[in-house]
Symmetry: C2
Subunit: 234 residues, 2 copies
DNA sequence: TATTGAATTTTGTGATCACATTATGACAAT
DNA sequence: ATTGTCATAATGTGATCACAAAATTCAATA
């Protein structure tokens, strides 16, 4: 049994221990650092985070409510295993929610915010050219997040984050085995639609971005990736 | 300050204390028993649930991740206040998610399950005739839930539950002040579409059911209800 | 070799305590 | 009447402990 390692992060002042534990665990799940199906122990996480079990449990409760973790009948906590069916459902939900969130954002977004989003896009290109896949992944999320949160009442945002989190472990696997995951995107098309305040063009571009990115994996490719990652079927 | 009262419930064997606290708090929020904006105290809930603060905190973390509660900067925990904008967003999300969940369910649902759903529908009629609004509300949720969970990988279900939970406090208010909230529904239309395995007819019926039910409140009606409930604009 | 069963360890859970932060109320000054 | 100050109370937070349940180990048996 390999000991869990959490990436070192600097803790913002005023952040509680359980929030910090939540953030670090979330990051680990998002990049696929925690293999699906193997039990997480509270004491193990507490040791890795150098805290006591109490705040860790609160973080685990939150993550399970967010769909990132699954509480088994034995009360053990695991990262859910990916299946072809689950993957398809998550991609469909991602498209549905992000299209909706994008449409709702159009009426609120400012030119200043679009500039900022375009800035993130160029940072993504830089990260990809530098081969920093993990950075590119996080920046890509930030790109989408900045669009949707232009709507001050973006009620769908927590749900989008939940889907991202559930796709995270699989994305981590894909990043390790697939070279050209981010060579193409529809970001320029998204930015153009934003500047024109064209909600339908935006929704189309979002759908295409998802479809041609992570959503483009076929059944066979997904099964191969899951096998490569050593995930037992079940 | 009035003391919080949680409805007595029998605790299923094997259920943990924090799960039980979560369920009871969830129920209280769902029927609008906790006024929005007033701070919930951990010790107060612990006293009402006759437990210690530890499991209560875990329940509160879950509920905040589910959108039912909001953690303020002061670290105080409140039921979020409803606004016209938020209400509209929640209804839009409810429609979007439930239409999707219904479409995904059609391929999986069995005649036996449809029979069960029809049974719930007649129970709803009974409850309405008996004037038991709260029962009708819960049965209505069960009606919808049984449809969506026919799909074994109903990934949208937790999100639907989240929306229900966020609409809960407002529904509780509406129930107290509006007589004919449940006199009409599209349930028969939904059942017919299920029997025909007609996904599009089902999605239309779901949308109509929401639109003509809680979704039918106009801006003025919502503001009046919020005023009646004594909610300060904020 | 495979399997059962008991002993041991590990783990989840909830209560309790101590501490720092925040809210509250009393009272004085303007 | 309103504002500001300070003492007190209430609250959130995290560590620690005890207990029961579950998993693991390992020896005995088929």
């Amino acid at each position: 049994m390999t000991q869990l390692v959490l990436r070192a992060m600097n803790r913002p002042e005023g952040m509680t221990t359980h929030e910090f534990a939540h953030r670090r665990l979330r990051q680990a799940i998002m990049v696929g650092a925690i293999p699906p199906g193997v039990a997480l122990t509270i004491r193990g996480i507490a040791a890795a985070a150098e805290t006591s079990p109490t705040p860790v449990r609160e973080a685990l409760r939150r993550l399970s409510s967010e769909g990132a973790l699954q509480v088994l009948d034995n009360r053990r906590i695991v990262v859910p295993k990916m299946t072809v069916e689950r993957f398809g459902e998550l991609i469909a939900l991602r498209t549905l929610l992000e299209q909706h969130a994008a449409r709702q954002a159009v009426a609120h977004i400012t030119e200043r915010q679009i500039d900022q989003i375009a800035e993130i896009d160029s940072e993504i290109d830089t990260a990809i050219r530098a081969g920093e896949k993990e950075t590119a992944l996080l920046l890509n999320q930030q790109f989408h997040r900045l669009i949707y949160t232009a709507n001050p009442e973006a009620m769908a945002m927590p749900m989008v984050e939940s889907v991202w989190l559930q796709l995270g472990p699989f994305l981590g696997i894909a990043m390790q085995h697939v070279e050209e995951l981010y060579v193409i995107d529809r970001h320029q098309e998204i930015i153009d639609a934003l500047r024109k305040r064209d909600a339908e063009a935006l929704a189309d571009a979002i759908a295409a971005d998802i479809r041609e990115g992570i959503g483009g994996f076929g059944r066979q490719a997904i099964e191969n990736l899951l096998r490569l990652a050593g995930q037992k079927p079940g």
